[in-house]
Amino acid sequence: MSVDLSQFHQVFYEESYEGLDAMEQGLLEMNVDAPDDEIINTIFRSAHSIKGGSGTFGFMQVANFTHVLETLLDEVRSGDRSLNQTTMDLLLVSVDCMRDMLQALQNGEEPDMSNADDLRAQFEAILKNEDPSQALAQSANSKEGSDSGQPPSDKSGGDGAGADGKNGWSIDFIPEPQLLQTGNEPTRMFRQISELCDGNMSVTVKTDNLPSFSSLNPEHCFLNWHIDVHAPLEKSVIDEVFEWVIDDAEINIYPLGQSCEAESQKIQESEPDKQVTPAAVEPIAVTTSQSTDEKPKAPQKAAAPQESSSIRVDIDKVDNLINMVGELVITQSMLGELGENFDMGRVQRLQEGLAQLEHNTRELQESVMKIRMMPISFVFSRFPRLVRDTARKLDKKIDLVMSGENTELDKTVMEKLGDPMVHLIRNSMDHGVETPEERIKNGKSETGTVELKAYHQSGNIVIEIEDDGAGLNTERILQKARENGVISEDANLSEDQVFDLIFQPGFSTADVVSDLSGRGVGMDVVRRNIAALNGSIEVFSQKNKGSRFVIRLPLTLAILDGQLVQVEDQIYIFPLVSIVESIQYQGSELNNVGGHSDVLQLRDEYVPILLLNQTFGIQTENDDLDESIIVVVEADGEKIGVVVDELLGQQQVVIKSLEENYKKVEGISGATILGDGTVALIIDVSGLSKLSVTSLKDLDRKVKNHKAA
């Protein structure tokens, strides 16, 4: 029977990644001086499972690498070896290394073994109690082929089995009384031998040791056997039959026709090696055949993004869903029956039924949404490591405090949240938290704190990243902004507005661009990424107290809280989060700048005005705007006023992709289907502001220059 092992690969990858995460977490939690047994066990178990799985599924590179790791961990676990910081660091690096190897394999590529070989050499040195750094040098000198190496404990056995025994074998099998208690059954062994020699055997039972009936324990074995096998079998084959019972029985195997004394060799001498050899060789063959098989497929595999493969859903959620569907079916059949012989007297029951249907649908929708929800710990879990490594690089002492890890969030949102958060945390550590010396000088404790919080607030998820560092430096931000031309020389900004400048494109406050924060990704990208998720980011800061970044995100990307607006006979939808305010159109508050565009003076700001009917080319019957409404929306830190005919209600809408169903339209992010079946377009606010001829900054400057002149 042949089983296609590749069908289990996906599960193997997933659980291995989980195992690696668990290892990483365990390593980070572990106190080197007083290691916790439970943590070591968890780490060991993860390594052990990865090794077992990778061996079974033919990924020998991973299995061989994990083997040394496992050996080391096993020694730690059994108390034969103590941990030190070097070993811990090596273990953490190995976790990354294994993750890389698995990712390469998953994408159908051959993993790069140079890193793994270096690490393995270092571990082997540790196991031999040598200095790992020297092993590194050695391994660099003589790089051995990585996949040729079998786990070091496998001495390739093979003891020229069956030197004699051409005529067959005699076996004395004298079990200990408790043999049966291990579930071993002598008759099964005889049957096995019989199969091996096609029945050319004889079994003689010896009852010498049988006690008297009164002292006979029926669960014990008192019989001995002598077996003659009349077939030229390899001795190793016979050894294997008795492999499991050698410790529970006296077994003598000798060539047929000789006496027991002639070769009273016990089985165990040659036993341990044999089982290993065939088992270990087989999967190597699998690896090679597989890599040739899969070559043509590789590009296609690599193209598939690794994240969106599958999600794990709590069984409760599924049960709940099934329950909901059940309710829905009941309501449906109730309504169906009602419709069959309907008269006006039953209108009330119809209404009740419809109300119930609405209720069911909403609950069902919520339950379905919940399936995509995962605890934010999936993102948070990588941060302890990040903070540890970054703090080391920066020579700072920083504690990470996390709360609300169980707050649930849509998986898609979560996947896109990782990078912006990494950036923010690095930023807080690099620019926020001061060096230990500075902190002491400022009367703070030596160790800084970065706090991560997640919680739900009115249909949104809020994530806060707070540090107790130096806070934003208002003067430096202003200076930088003027230098880079982000603001004009004489701009008078409130503190909040100054803080907001860090989100402007082309802005970096670090005097020296370090390799940590300044890698070309600025806070403007962070804000754009978060805006792309229909979210917002704000910063609060207090000098010498620290800064706090607050990210607000919708719980899901599939549903949007929308404001419905009407323009002529069309209905458009604004994301509710983007709306700042809505005001009645009054011609007197508008200024005309540069001859072709209007701006609205909104308190001390100038906001460009955009007519939605013009932008989307809708036929208008009257040009009178007096009854209109201006919806002031904000995107990418810029406000625009959008003129619409009327505000309709607010409602949650399900987002349908316009690109998939039609094509991309500038200024439109998607579509939805309203209750009456018509299609309404959802406004892409940041796209819309780009559509408007002039951006806020230009306008603001123009207006101000105009005024000054």
């Binding site: 029977m1 042949s2 089983v3 079974t56 404990s153 291990t182 579930g183 071993n184 492999e243 999967p283």
Partner: protein, 120 residues
């Protein structure tokens, strides 16, 4: 056809074992650790137990010792799936009452050959 209890904390191994055994016509019940396995075993008799050694909550050795305390598992074959090729782990298994072992990594054919040793 035999009733087999497959115990492993690794879902991929469990699936592989279970798929192979079902393919050979056996009836397989899965458990992800010793505690779960013991609970299942308390409810029904099995013809064979295949268990991983290293598992959270209750490991394979403890499971084995616990199973041998159950009257209906006194003589049931219990095979340990182990990566340890060294003797001491096997010894611990034997002391706890394990029948034998299968050394990981193994392929489906090796698994079927091995369980044939203990199934009627």
């Amino acid at each position: 056809m035999a009733k087999i209890l497959a115990v492993d904390d690794s879902a991929s191994m469990r699936q592989m074992v279970s798929f192979t055994l079902k393919g050979a016509g056996h009836q397989v019940t899965e458990a992800s650790d010793g505690v779960e396995a013991l609970k299942i075993a308390q409810g029904q008799a099995m013809d064979l137990v295949l268990s991983d050694v290293n598992m959270p909550n209750m490991n394979g050795i403890e499971l084995c010792a616990n199973l041998r305390q159950l009257p209906s598992y006194k003589f049931t074959p219990i095979l340990m799936l182990t990566t340890e090729s060294t003797g001491d782990k096997k010894m611990a298994g034997k002391t706890a009452g394990a029948t034998g072992w299968i050394v990981k990594p193994f392929n489906p054919d090796q698994l079927l050959t091995t369980i044939k040793k203990v199934l009627g």
